[in-house]
């Protein structure tokens, strides 16, 4: 048997060096593709991942309105967290890499690596986009208050909030306020931070641990007020927080 196997091995077609090189590179490519698949086909940038989410959900290619900034480790809790700097200098961190894009008739909100959803564009006035993930939970975030402690040292207070994005907000807006009546009928007041270019992040501070219920604001009535620099009311808009499709 051993002799027979040796004869068969000796009779195998001889490959030139070039052919062996091609064979080796082909096998290497197959193995690398397998490793790629085992890792769930990661792409090099978050934007590529967002575009793939659009394609695999058969959504049209959108114009990106909000993209996650580069990761910054200072005061962030997780490597997926991304920190935005508002016009007033407040540093707001969202949990997860969120994208918002706009097409002709809808806004697309995507959490990279997780899920994507859409809401219709507002016919007039600012569009409200709840940042909602695949299980209907909306984006959480936090801002950090730093300050000296009595007796020395520094104190870091993490303020958690639930987040929604407003865009197409008029340029002359200096302040935003939003109130939403939650499922228990309690009015909750949220404040906005100007991210520039007509985008505002509206946050509803969470009362405590476990306060943020899954999708608490979806389908709930809201009132949005935009104010000018001089404090006068620029726009008041009422509606229902859209449930993402």
């Amino acid at each position: 048997m051993k002799e027979k196997l040796k004869r068969i091995w000796a009779q195998r077609p001889g490959l030139t060096r070039g052919q062996k090189l091609v064979r080796n590179l082909g096998l290497c490519t197959l193995l690398l593709l397998w490793f790629w698949g085992m890792a769930d086909y990661p792409l090099p940038t978050a934007e590529l991942e967002f575009r793939r989410l659009e394609r695999t959900n058969l959504l049209p290619r959108s114009e990106i309105v909000l993209a996650p900034p580069t990761y910054r480790s200072y005061l962030t809790v997780s490597k997926e967290d991304r920190t935005f700097v508002a016009r007033d200098g407040t540093e707001l961190t969202l949990r997860g890499r969120w994208f918002v894009g706009v097409t002709e008739d809808r806004a697309i909100a995507a959490l990279v690596g997780e899920s994507i959803s859409t809401v219709p564009l507002a016919e007039t006035g600012p569009t409200l986009v709840p940042l909602v993930d695949g299980v209907g939970d909306h984006a959480g975030g936090y801002w950090v208050e730093e300050g000296p402690m009595e007796g020395g040292g520094y104190r870091y207070d993490y303020h958690n909030f639930s987040a929604l994005l407003l865009f197409n907000v008029p340029e002359e807006t200096a302040r935003t306020e939003m109130s939403i009546t939650d499922e228990e009928g309690t009015p909750r007041l949220g404040r906005g931070w100007d991210l520039e270019d007509g985008r505002w992040l509206v946050g509803f501070e969470e009362k405590g641990v476990g306060d943020r219920a899954i999708g608490w604001c979806l389908d709930q009535p809201y009132t949005l007020r935009l104010y000018r620099e001089d404090g006068s009311l620029l726009l008041e808009q009422a509606g229902t927080i859209p449930r993402a499709e």
Binding site: R17, G18, K20, L21, N24, L25, L27, C28, L31, L32, W34, F35, W36, G37, M38, A39, D40, Y41, R52, L53, R55, T56, N57, L58, L59, P60, T103, R106, S115, I116, T118, G134, E245
Partner: protein, 267 residues
Amino acid sequence: MIQKNHNVSVWLETAVSGIRFKPDRQAVEEELREHIEDKTLDLMRIFPGMTEEEAREQALDRMGDPEEIGKELAKIHKPWLGYLWRASKWALGLLAAAALVVCAATNDHFQNARHPLWGERATSYGTVRGEKAELGGYTFQIVGAAFLDYPEDGAYQDVYQVTVRVSSLKFWERIDPAALYSGLTATGPDGVGQPMDRATVNMDLEAGASQITVGIEQTRWDLFSREFAIYLEGHDWKENDRVTLDFHFGRGDFALTVDHMEQVVME
């Protein structure tokens, strides 16, 4: 003897000096050395009066100018191909070893435990090659259509099952099942459209049975496709019962229809 070997060694060293890839240089040097020895023995056989030293010198003369030979050999033996081939051997060896380690370390060999590359979860019945549509680089085709006829006194209800395959050559971008569930409405023979973003499940706790009577589930998937079974409540089977699947996506809408349902008697 040392002088003779030295002449041969110097000749060989000059002849192969242009070959930069070491394994090739060694192999060619060995071959040339054997050739010189063969020539020497031939000369000694043809001219019996010739000494070994004279025969070897003659053999070297007849081999030619080692510098010219060196130039020709350098043109033929490209070092980059040799280095690339060697690198490819190492790369293949390392990747194969890494693959074995990964397979041994994961529970689902050859698979990503979170998103297996292929698998099967449920059975599809009534194989057909039905209507096809293309959108966004995906091909949608009905590949199964059956009326599942369960016993009257059993725990399961009669249902229509229509199977759709969604395929794409881009294996890294298979369709997101959530997109299909939210974008599909199925209409059975009763004419009532049922959105597939929700499901009705029939559960018989005593019998330990659960069954989707209205809804969708993924049945099979592989590198290039996913198959989904769509269920609608059925009552009396007719061969020409019609089921229409309306797909509504951000990129476009289309419908697929099947009007021949195979009756499958289930036990």
